[in-house]
Symmetry: C2
Subunit: 453 residues, 2 copies
């Protein structure tokens, strides 16, 4: 029996991406002066959106709405009644704000319950090792698993010591480089250890920084003990188990397009969270800039040609469960989808957009971001994937974007008890809301459909 | 019954101090050229100490010894057998290293046991509030205390709302300015709340930064809930209680002076820690630069005119218990004490010394620190108190010093589970060890006694 019992929860939500060089395509030959001028002509509207959010009556409203929500519901694990109550709350709020076509769309979710969990160092001395089980792990027998520990720093090192892994708990202590590079130990450690007959796999926190917030530190302790040639014995207990399938919902609200309501621009984040922390950052911030951005456009009476749809995905943390269901249910409609955005890597100070488009789309976005000079958010990065849920559609060739923002501390808090409202900042949330709403509005209102090339 | 149950442990160990302006006294008229030249003549010896520590055979030894020690014993609460075993280990190690006059000196300690503790938000919703009881708190009844919460941001606000405090749990959420300023809420919150009939006092973490490492965040949560006009009910449980008086020991080792062995220069840190974290920073680092600094001088065969004594204090966290006993037991000897140093505010990158001396002493130290140019550690700060245990003697007019170092993150980890070896850095420990040992050596070897003016 092999268990995944690392020191911190699995990541489902950030996919490593590759930057694409824009230089090869000549926008000059594609973009007409007329189109260039049309995009520039949105500056007064964009300024109005920014002013209303940063200084006007929407100032701090994203933070305040998020605080009300997070403090009321706390964390929101998929499959819990608490998440369903939170979804009802958002549907109700959306109606209050006169958003359009407000409804939930069902998605079945296999529930998972963490239960109690512990890791205790027994040899060479007794010490509690505060662990956080990887989400969707399976549990141990009630008495736990007690076994000797083998510490390795890489898959290669395990390979070279494979004959020592049998019946052991293998602890992986890879050096943290980037999240994208190091997170492979979350997904692959268990099967790598299993191959050589290990009884469980532990991994260090995949984070650049921790204050015993589980918890690179103890991984380093075991590493030092092994270097001294001492035997390490650990007892692991986890009650983690899967439960029934429950029905959850993606939360949907719109501003219907004035000319082409069937054509869609989507702004989104996910409403569920892991069961530790408060899910204020992952993904409360992303969900609330998407939702409050729509509320803002509605309040400003800004109805674009095409429909803007806000979707608050459910069960993202369990593996894009809500998005996958939506993908199935809306297959026939996506030919009309113009653009899709998701914020799921924090809502820190924004400085622009990263996007996945063809060459022509890139030319348009490079013009659009110029409108965000008042926010100091005119940087772009073209890449091959953004966001998490929306990659389902991006891989089908539907263009999309995410925020560029100062997210260097994101993994300090990610999937940990540290994901609380204290991570979020009212001013940054205002700026992100403005950037998000303005991008959606301009793209949804352009005279041409967003190119898929 | 009033309980102190804040979100993080009491501080005993850092005393706020006031910087003293040096300009008024004219060193030119006090320091003879001969004395100035004598101090400067120590440069080759100081260079040797630095070279041996930073690049030579002592490189990384402070870190490695500290790692061996911390990993072997973990945290070391005063009154525990574990601390006594750790003291035996240090005495044994000191003998192995041929340190002189190695012995323990007894100090009785009233023990304190934390036991289990919890705080649970019951209204407006249920949430675990991870708390860390203030050291030396007394416990609750087994069923805990359940009461409504009153949130205040200051003593003044409590004063103005005093009629609302009766039978409540008062939560203080002061803004964190500096540790020295804000820590008053640790020591005074309980009695302030008691005055108005409160049943318990909670305080936010007195730290500038936390990752739910208990835990400013939840204090802010309760503050927001109160602002919304909702009733807050919390259940507090603590098993904390005092135990028997046990005998602990201050750990002493020396290099006897060649000319005036009865005259003493002391370098020190404390060996005990709180019962959370590993006490690697508070005060493993300070204890080990003091101890390994002496080992280094011994290994280099550097025997100064006066005796250098390393003292590893016991039970500092319970209120300088070991130092107070030592103060009583050595009253007759202190006329011969030349200088006393303690490191108890971290061992980060050092940049000089802060000191408590008279004007003449200041003139000498300003010359001594010039010797530390190879370490980039020539900054000084004259102040009215340094360290913790040693303030007992500094207030009697015995001159002393502590490290100036880049300690801005100290309170991120202080008295929390985050106080692990990962906070400590081998290179910084080397630099601190060299600075510490060289200062002690020069002061202990000068042709004149260190002035007490």
């Amino acid at each position: 029996m092999l268990l995944i019992i690392p020191f911190i929860l699995v990541l489902i939500g950030v996919i490593s991406s590759n930057v694409i060089d824009n230089e090869v395509f000549d926008c000059g030959s594609y973009l007409s002066d007329a189109l260039r001028n049309e995009i520039a002509s949105y500056q007064p509207i964009v300024n109005k959106i920014i002013k209303e959010t940063v200084k006007g009556r929407f100032k701090s409203t994203t933070y305040n709405e998020l605080a009300d929500f997070v403090d009321k519901f706390g964390n929101r694990l998929a499959g819990t009644e608490n998440l369903e109550n939170a979804i009802d709350y958002m549907l109700e709020k959306s109606k209050e704000k006169n958003l359009e076509n407000v409804h939930g769309e069902k998605a079945p979710v296999r529930t998972w319950i963490r239960g109690e969990e512990s890791a205790t160092l027994l040899q060479p001395r007794r010490q509690n090792l505060p662990l956080l089980g990887l989400g969707l792990s399976i549990g141990t027998p009630p008495e736990g698993i007690t076994a000797e520990v083998l510490v390795v720093t890489s898959f290669d090192e395990l390979e070279s010591q494979s004959e020592r892994a049998k019946s052991k708990i293998v602890l992986f202590v890879p050096e943290y480089t980037t999240y994208g590079e190091t997170v492979v130990y979350r997904s692959e450690a268990a099967s790598a250890a299993a191959k050589y007959g290990a009884v469980a796999a532990l991994i260090r926190s995949i984070t650049p920084f921790s204050i015993a917030s589980p918890h690179t530190e103890d991984a380093h302790l075991l590493q030092r003990i092994q270097k001294r040639g001492q035997k390490i014995v650990v007892n692991l207990k986890m009650e983690a188990h899967f439960g029934d399938v429950k029905i959850s919902r993606n939360t949907v609200a719109e501003i219907k397009g004035s000319k082409n309501p069937e054509k869609i621009v989507i702004i989104s984040g996910h409403l569920d969270s892991w069961d530790v922390g408060q899910g204020a950052m992952d993904d409360g911030g992303g969900a609330f800039i998407s939702w409050n951005g729509l509320v803002l456009l509605k309040a400003l009476n800004l109805r674009p040609r095409r429909t803007i749809r806000t979707i608050l995905w459910t069960a993202e943390e369990f593996g894009y469960v809500g998005a996958k269901q939506y993908y199935q249910d809306h297959k026939n409609e996506t030919k009309n989808w113009n653009f899709i955005m998701e914020s799921d890597e924090g809502t820190f100070n924004p400085y622009g957009l990263e996007y996945v488009t063809g060459d022509k789309g890139a030319c348009i976005l490079e013009e659009v971001v110029k409108l965000f000079a008042p926010l100091n958010a005119t940087t772009t990065e073209r890449t091959d994937s953004v966001g998490s849920d929306i990659n389902l559609w991006l891989s089908d060739g539907i263009p999309g974007a995410a925020l560029l923002q100062e997210s260097s501390t994101y993994f300090w808090y990610h999937h940990s008890p540290g994901d609380t409202l204290d991570v979020e900042d009212p001013v940054n949330l205002d700026k992100n809301t403005a950037l998000w709403a303005a991008t959606a509005y301009v793209v949804a209102d352009l005279s041409i459909d967003f190119p898929r090339d």
